[in-house]
Symmetry: C2
């Protein structure tokens, strides 16, 4: 037996204290122990055990007095309170953004004379002179040319309006990019890749800060109003997470524990999607499927609560003026037929191809931006893209208006009251049918010209979105993707409809398309196309279908949506597994351990651990022979985040792991406050001080910062298991042993580098500390 090699045999009471180790040192006067530095990754197990300690402390205290009991109840309820606050604030912000965007988008075209803060629609709704037929035209609303020259028609007025449209757009986007650059560089982009990374356990200080929140909200309004091809849905998730971070700081339960904070952030992501689309259930599933890393059941309930509160806050603000919760409310009156699955699946294929094209082209362009001169002039780039967008968008009525209005029109079924060009069908006067059941009719000239304009709009949107996403302004991808899909879908829908009308004797149309009956709904095709394109870019499936289901509110159309979403995912996956968010994570080198990647290589822990063959030996501390000076030298010479502690260098038997940050703080603290601790003092991690000659300086006991339960695997463990353990337990590092002897260490960075290497990517691209 090699007993007594240094580890004192502990009595039961002592053992119990062992578990409380962490708590003891949290009570210590020196601050910041147990926190993380910027751009570091958190240790989920440690965070969880810290929270359990805190919880235990509160529970035991709560028996002492009434006041402590109330405090413990408040603590237990604080989770729900935070959710309520997040829901209220993110719902309010979403409402304010919607209202402001409405007003500013219309400001590019004209102004309301009766009250300049009214949008076009509000202006004409409040006017008494509007007739029901012509809601869009009222004397109070004047285009700029009309206001300035008194002349509403003619080429001159058109050019003036055109010019002012471009000017406003440039002004908005210039303001936005300047604000982002000066005040909050983190406010740019959609934020979802970064939030995914943060939720997986990475620290990016300031990314969810107050300034980011403020600037992102303001600039989001500006960029959306400027008419750029981007949406506000992704950034709303970022905004909601910023709100969550803000409220976390009110409760020490969340502000001091990075693990608990991430639970709140997951719920906030759900609230963000909930207000973006008015789809609370879809929001929760989006958070679960797309964003979150660690999603316990408790978070599921809380997310749902936050998503609901947010949705109802938004509804009481009522920015769309129709008491509807959802962004695109649609109601269809015709069922779909089995044969229609063919065009639906074709739309799915289109969506998948669009997803692949977009991801490849966008990533290539963003890489170019990062590596060439282009990246140095973000303001100029934004101005140029805005200018091009505005110049090209104005002449086409389908690109001039805001993208969400466009999608809304494309989704809509042609009712009897619809005045849109898309509904310009040739009426058959000898039929009188109820209002909500319009039979199929031949397309009129309006429809044909609309088709041309839509085709041009499609090409324009596809190209410009590739260059827009990734600029240094807040930009979401949901709306442009959906627009591309909706345009393609509507075109296909009208084509099928006209084919069915003109060839209703064809065998496939015979059963369901008798003349005079309603059989094809082009709006449904637009919706299916939108789902397919969104799916191709983001690779969402269930959450996508549920969001769409919440928009239509009927189970009827789940099958077409599902067919398109799944086809689109399969097609896109065939060309590359990564969604746009994951591609951007990779491009930026964030240390994100993807849950979906299956690790199938046959490597072992020993192939990945450091030190490698020919490397210098592992930097370790011994339990009772290292001096303070040795430790300080080790800290200075290396940049490892922690050091294993062994019984002795000869036996290499592992007893624990100590964090660099804690070690630095502890020694600094001891040197300041503890008399007799000098450079030659021995540092010891055992229970009892080692037997030293009397002449030696006072030793320094550091057992309290020692993690006595470091995670170990054997050198023969397959890497797939190691990856699984890192994912599921959220480890920061893991020690490798062989028959009880310490051989090396695997950090999360090593795992990520190894995975990158196995996928033939550059392992050094990963940003990490």
């Amino acid at each position: 037996m090699e007993a007594g090699e240094g580890v004192s045999s502990a009595t039961p009471t002592e053992e119990m204290n062992g578990a409380g180790n962490l708590m003891d040192f949290l009570d210590e006067p020196f601050p910041d122990v147990g926190t993380y530095e910027d751009f570091h990754t958190i240790d989920w197990l440690r965070e969880k055990s810290r929270d359990t300690d805190r919880h235990r402390k509160i529970t035991s205290k709560s028996k002492e007095s009434m006041w402590e009991l109330i405090k413990s109840l408040l603590d237990a309820w604080s989770g729900w309170v935070v959710m309520l606050l997040i829901g209220l604030l993110s719902g309010t912000l979403a409402g304010v953004i919607d209202l402001a965007v409405d007003w500013m988008t219309d400001l590019k075209e004209g102004v309301c004379l009766s009250a300049f803060w009214y949008s076009h629609e509000q202006c004409c709704w409040t006017s008494n002179e509007t007739t029901f037929d012509d809601r869009d035209k009222c004397p109070q609303w004047q285009k700029w040319a009309e206001l300035m020259t008194g002349n509403a028609e003619g080429a001159g007025a058109y050019v003036l309006n055109y010019f002012l449209y471009i000017l406003w757009a440039l002004l908005f986007s210039f303001l936005a990019v300047s604000l982002v650059r000066v005040f909050a560089p983190y406010a740019c982009g959609s934020g979802i890749p970064e939030i995914k990374t943060i939720l997986s356990g990475f620290i990016i200080r300031g990314y969810l800060g107050k300034w980011t929140l403020l600037i992102k909200t303001v600039t989001l309004v500006l960029v959306v109003s400027s008419g750029l091809s981007l949406g506000k849905e992704g950034p709303l998730v970022h905004v909601a997470c910023c709100c969550a971070n803000l409220f976390c700081s009110l409760f020490s339960k969340y502000s001091k524990n990075e693990g608990k904070r991430r639970e709140v952030l997951s719920a906030a992501a759900a609230a963000g999607v909930s207000v973006a689309f008015g789809a609370p259930i879809g929001g929760v599933l989006f958070s679960l499927e797309e964003v979150s890393y660690y999603f316990p059941l408790k978070t599921l309930w809380r997310s749902f609560f936050a998503a609901l509160v947010a949705a109802f806050t938004l509804r009481s603000i009522n920015p769309f003026g129709n008491s509807r919760l959802v962004l695109f409310y649609v109601e269809y009156h015709t069922p779909w037929y089995m044969a229609e699955l063919v065009p639906f699946i074709l739309l799915g294929v289109f969506g998948g191809l669009w997803g692949t094209l977009f991801i490849r082209a966008n990533i290539a362009w963003c890489r170019r931006r990062k590596t060439t001169q282009l990246g140095k002039y973000p303001v100029l780039e934004v101005i140029a893209v805005t200018g091009i967008t505005a110049v090209l968008a104005y002449p086409n009525p389908y690109t001039r208006r805001s993208t969400s209005e466009l999608i809304s029109e494309l989704f809509n079924d042609c009712g009897a009251l619809e005045s849109s060009q898309l509904c310009d069908y040739i009426n058959n006067p000898n039929m009188s049918r109820p209002v909500d059941d319009i039979p199929d009719r031949p397309a009129g000239p309006g429809v044909y010209s609309a088709l041309w304009q839509l085709a041009l709009a499609l090409v324009f949107k596809i190209v410009i979105t590739i260059f827009t996403f990734g600029m240094k302004i807040p930009s979401g991808l949901f709306i442009p993707s959906m627009a591309v899909g909706a345009i393609a879908g509507r075109i296909v829908g009208i084509a099928v409809e006209q084919m069915a009308y003109h060839h209703h004797d064809w065998i496939i149309f015979k059963n369901w398309c008798r003349p005079g009956a309603d059989c094809v709904t082009p709006g449904l095709y637009a919706m299916v196309g939108a789902a397919a394109c969104l799916g191709g870019v983001t690779r969402m499936t269930v959450s996508l279908v549920v969001i769409m289901f919440e928009l239509t509110g009927g189970l009827e159309y789940i099958v077409p949506l599902m067919a398109a979403a799944v086809t689109s995912k399969w097609v896109a996956d065939a060309f590359g597994k990564e969604s746009i968010y994951e591609s951007h994570i990779q491009l930026n080198g964030y240390p994100y351990l993807n849950v979906r990647d299956e690790f199938t290589h046959r490597t072992l822990a020993t192939d990945v651990m450091r030190p490698r063959r020919n490397d210098p030996p592992l930097a370790v501390l011994t339990q009772d022979t290292t001096t303070v000076e040795d430790v300080e030298t080790l800290i200075k010479d290396t940049d490892y985040n922690g050091f294993p502690v062994v019984v002795s260098r000869e036996s290499e038997r592992l007893i624990g792991f100590v964090q660099r940050r804690d070690l630095t703080l502890a020694i600094k603290n001891a040197r300041q406050k503890q008399d007799g601790v000098v450079s030659s003092s021995v540092v010891y991690f055992t229970e009892d001080a080692p037997q030293l000659p009397a002449s030696n300086p006072q030793p320094l006991k550091l057992r309290r910062i020692l993690n006595l339960s470091p995670f170990t695997v054997t050198d023969h463990t397959p890497m797939e298991t190691v990856v699984d353990i890192f994912r599921k337990l959220g480890l920061r590092q893991c020690l490798v042993t062989r028959s009880g002897r310490l051989l090396g260490i695997i950090t999360k960075k090593d795992v990520l580098r190894h995975m990158a290497q196995m996928m033939n990517q550059d392992p050094d691209s990963i940003m990490f500390n």
Copy 2:
């Protein structure tokens, strides 16, 4: 350095083979290696790594020939095929069950003369003589008394009908309980507790077998038709899982891997709920929230697919005859008002109290059944309960009909065409309003008598359900719980409505309840009450609200449902954390490691591991000194499921872990097939055979069954971390070391016993091997 203590330093190639260890021995001729015995628990990590091996093998083979490529594609698609099959079969079975139940429930009262296989509704629908007003009465449908005596009215006919009703009920339930006893004892109960346990990694052979499927389907029809206070929703989950298990056996990918099989079962649970309620999204969330243990994203998509296919199969069978997917389709026309939240929350409190009462009383009764003579007469018990149910149920029209019809009526809003007693309001002739907007009116005598009958039905349902759930027949809990809640809710709803009508000048009603306007929907109260009661019993939250949302199809009513569900959960949780399913798991002693239980005690791994103080030392094998005889003695003398392998007994350095089952099979196999292996042969686990005198018999190499990467924790690891690791990685056992020396072992059973001990429960109640 203590190098060379036996572990040969492996070359890189060898290391690679290490990972393939498992694969090598799977290729071995002796079968059953890597499988589990009945009532054992699976090792998730091992299953996962086996699947990865299988996958790697197929991928590498697929490059060899076209045929192998096709095979690999088929393999990749088999998951979706299984889902499709599960959806089709479970949808079909659910449809058949619905049709059969409809017919047999009506058979208790009478028969269709034109075709005896028609249910009452079908009989009168096909009849031409029915008027629109009186759909329920048609000459073809005759009650038994009318048929037998020609006399439809009078006391004699009533008694005869009453008598025959009881007789049929007794016949059905006797048949059911006999079938269950004789052919498939596992077909009893709701099955959800067992499925939860199976999904968490336990093996119960036959629980999901073909016989169970067949008998459960048949007896489910019988017991539901017999009028007992039970539902078919829970058992449908079991039926769907049986289907899944059936189809798993078609694909070796699933039949040979217990981990993969559980992924399919999770999806099947979703399909089961999907067909039970017609709520596919709710089904997926139910599986996620309530049933599943390991639910990767891939399973989410597949569950959704299976749930959709099942729902659409059911819809095409169209058992309810109304093209509706959902069990209770409701449409309300009035919004709800803020003040109504007070009665909704009161219903939530009622639901929580009902949940607590039911769980406590039912568990007490089931415990009594287990421990007393009562359990020995299951047939008699079923007969007695059926008799009592039938005798008490017949006189009350609300308990005589099937429970789902009752719920449906309670949920319904009183339209103009409603002939129900519950809608017997006094009409105000001077008002003429459109059909779907009936204003509040004073209640007529019919409503008052209905209220009395409902109150009696409520008491009856509460009492009888406690005694029904847990008998040796298939029995679900959803429908009875919902019925209790719906009755209570409707009573409260009518009370509020009448109060609002008669006191519309009260300050709280003033704003929303003007006379002549419609302000309170009693049906909505019934729905909220049903959700609250179901929530109190099952502790579902999100899935419950989503199921209810899918029933109504409107986001409007989510807030009332949510308020009631959350209140009910809070109230019920205050009295005890366990849901009815978890209570039954505990009662039966299944080894289920609950994901929701927070382990907050400050114990360490060293307190839980075996051997305890004063126990004999841990049974270990040495790497190259144990003989075949030693191993056989060890296997005979102990009943452990596996043995750690150490370098030597002195150093106690761990090198691996070997499963008892594999060891037995390997030695048996070697003795039969390998010449020279005798009792005194040395068993070695190293790469190279130990140096032995020439006179010794041939040694036996067993490295291929050695798990070289056993999971270890240190003795100082807090138990909360250990519990977390067991949960997240699905371990079967974990070895405990201190500074590299093996100290003991913790199995899943030890963890469960320790948790039971900490919660002051009997640790020996856990059934386990």
